[in-house]
Subunit: 424 residues, 2 copies
């Protein structure tokens, strides 16, 4: 499937990196109009090339089936007509988002007479390493382009033909808008050495965003010689406080677990304050039973819920991504926060309470990328937060934290306006 | 000089890291009042222990002299009475700065009914690795404390006794304010293995800030397994445009080069637009001559300035940190920006012009941490920018860029306030 003309991977990647760097300079100064023009041209091109996209995807699907890929992987790989629609619509929506680049904030006069502010600027070249979903190619390219960055994309080998077909549409769109074709490059080889090269080219790539399973992300974090915006575990908690409104608690605990099972912001552990355990747990257990959720509990939980099985120590550290929930009865807010600090993954944690002081303490003291009061953890999402779009969710603290939108793909520089001032 | 009881460096550093992590949780939720109380208590303690500080410093100076350290190094090492004054005053000033921690911004309602904002939070544990100046111990500890971080400090071996004496004052101040003594720890060994351990403890240390020469910073960047806020070269440019006010240009070019020679924001290369070269260069050359600045120029410069020697290619890439200036006559704004992109270090670059469009292009297109119009590069400084203080200047783009104050020592998390909302 690889482009057979690429035999010298280091030389190929070096050249690709040089071209990305050169293109990034042009994209950094591209006007908002030119970037939006390119996005709409990319969308039009994807629309026009539907047949070619589907044919390329069929080729990937046939190769995947022949290789014995499992059904779930083949499903993720498939570009159905509605997925192509969604991909095109996503690119169009990015065109409607405000352009973050060049915005100047806090432009204040200083006693010396200079005026100092901060201008938002692109990061430069963003490398995205992802797995089987080919729609990431268009989504990620659109966000990087709008934020003025050049992009190097390296998708999964099983989606090679689909990604190349999408890349051709993107590059045609860039050219139509007078922007450099090299602004978005899709690595044209499935050789894994290309990934090793990508994460170790600080002169060419400024940040790597891996999107995929934990093993991919861990490997990239280990090998990377450039910053990585990464998402590791999502072990999210809901804590039902003694002062909770139990109807809200019920609605949130059901939604946080069962609205979707496989997402990173799904609740994996429910913590319940001892005074309300008997009032809420049997009611919740009935609803979870109806939805087929397996319950694993601490001894107090098991005493209140007949069908709960005893939780092991490993349960408190597990991201199930499945209809399984661990439940622990705790002795108040302190114990709940201690459990979250010890077992959580600093992703998303919520308290349900009507108590002002406890809500305020939870918000301040729980060190997670999203901290919520009386809301479902499922809201931790770039669209729900109003970021317009999301390139991923960061579980790091450095640079970007939580859902990462256009702003997370930028940095700021200081701008100084003077009238001939010198330093005394 | 090392504490002789420390024989097992990995075990010592692991323990120190554990204690830093535990202390960081307490400092993250410490009130503004408690942190300010600690800062004032540290200042009082430093005041009270002047004699002990001076004695410890004398011990370092004697050992340094015996080891044959050069005069410049011994000077940097010395804690004179006025330097102790400045150190104490610096700690007191940090107490007067606004507390960034817990501030919530952009708390907006979303269509779902949830209200989403961002709360500023400490990074966690900050590791500082620095060289001979012992005052860094108090400066860095104060900034990290105010921003709610625990700190692990590793100073130069030649300042060991001085740093330990300062550390005792800091820890006494923390205890006086009811904050954990382990909130600021100074590594009590000069074994270089401690540095290797510090930069590779992601479980204990969240970010490393090296302060020192280029070789220290390069070594740490290479070895680090945690993010590094680093400062590499400061190859700063002033570009005098054809549309410059030549009096402003003169003042800025003299100040940017000669106000101080050894600082990172000192101009190293002067670029002059060809149409004004004959009008400004001889006048500047006379002033530089009076100040003893050696001039190295391109052929056009040498034709205009008799005493200029020809610049070599290496000059354009040199950070002299000395009374040496390279000068190049360029053909307009594009050529100037091209020179800066190619030879600059993305630190601080200035244009002198009265032309609106050229000023605006330079601000947008020059990709440096500080970009200036009609002001001296020497203003690139946390105090001059109004950050209140500065832990360093970052030449990275990721997380923090340019002068880094309290805000650069923090991150943000999302906070979500709801009333029982669930995701549909």
């Amino acid at each position: 499937m690889t482009d057979a003309t690429i035999t010298d991977i280091p030389a190929y990647m070096t050249d690709l990196g040089h071209r990305a760097r050169a293109a990034s300079r042009q994209l950094a100064r591209a006007s908002t109009a030119a970037k939006n023009h390119a996005l709409l041209a990319i969308a039009a091109q994807l629309e026009q090339e539907r047949a070619a996209l589907t044919a390329a995807n069929q080729q990937d699907l046939a190769a995947g089936a022949a290789k014995g890929l499992d059904a779930a992987l083949l499903d993720r790989l498939e570009l159905t007509a509605s997925r192509i629609d969604a991909m095109i619509e996503g690119v169009r929506q990015v065109a409607t988002l405000p352009d973050p680049v060049g915005a100047i904030t806090d432009l204040n006069y200083r006693p010396s007479g200079i005026q100092v502010g901060r201008m938002r600027v692109p990061l430069g070249v963003v490398g995205i390493i992802y797995e089987s979903r080919p729609n990431v190619t268009a989504d990620a390219a659109a966000l990087c382009l709008k934020s003025g960055n050049a992009t190097v994309l390296r998708g999964g080998s099983e989606a090679f033909a689909s990604n190349q077909a999408i890349a051709r549409c993107i590059q045609a769109g860039l050219v139509a808008a007078g922007l450099p074709e090299d602004g978005v490059q899709v690595v044209a080889t499935t050789d894994r050495a290309a990934v090793g090269a990508m994460v170790a080219m600080p002169e060419a790539i400024d940040v790597i965003i891996p999107r995929g399973g934990k093993s991919l992300i861990e490997r990239i974090s280990r090998e990377a010689r450039v910053p990585v915006i990464k998402h590791l575990d999502g072990i999210c908690h809901v804590y039902i406080d003694a002062h909770a409104d139990l109807d809200k608690a019920y609605a949130i605990a059901i939604n946080a677990k069962t609205q979707r099972y496989g997402t990173c912001n799904t609740m994996e552990t429910l913590l319940v304050d001892a005074p309300v355990a008997a009032a809420i747990l049997p009611r919740l257990a009935a609803a979870y039973r109806d939805k087929g959720v397996e319950l694993r509990g601490c001894p107090q939980t098991c005493a209140l819920i007949a069908e709960a099985v005893p939780a092991t120590d490993a349960d408190w550290d597990s991201e199930y991504l499945a209809p399984i929930l661990s439940i622990r009865v705790v002795a108040g807010l302190e114990a709940a926060m201690e459990h979250i600090a010890r077992h959580g993954s600093a992703h998303t944690d919520a308290i349900v309470t009507e108590d002002y002081a406890r809500a305020r303490r939870f918000l301040r003291e729980v060190d997670s990328s999203s901290v919520m009061v009386n809301a479902s953890t499922r809201f931790a999402d770039g669209f729900e937060y109003g970021l317009g779009a999301e390139i991923g969710i960061s579980t790091d603290k450095f640079h970007a934290r939580g859902p990462v939108g256009l702003e997370g793909l930028t940095s700021v520089k200081f701008v100084v306006l003077g009238d001939g001032e010198v330093r005394g």
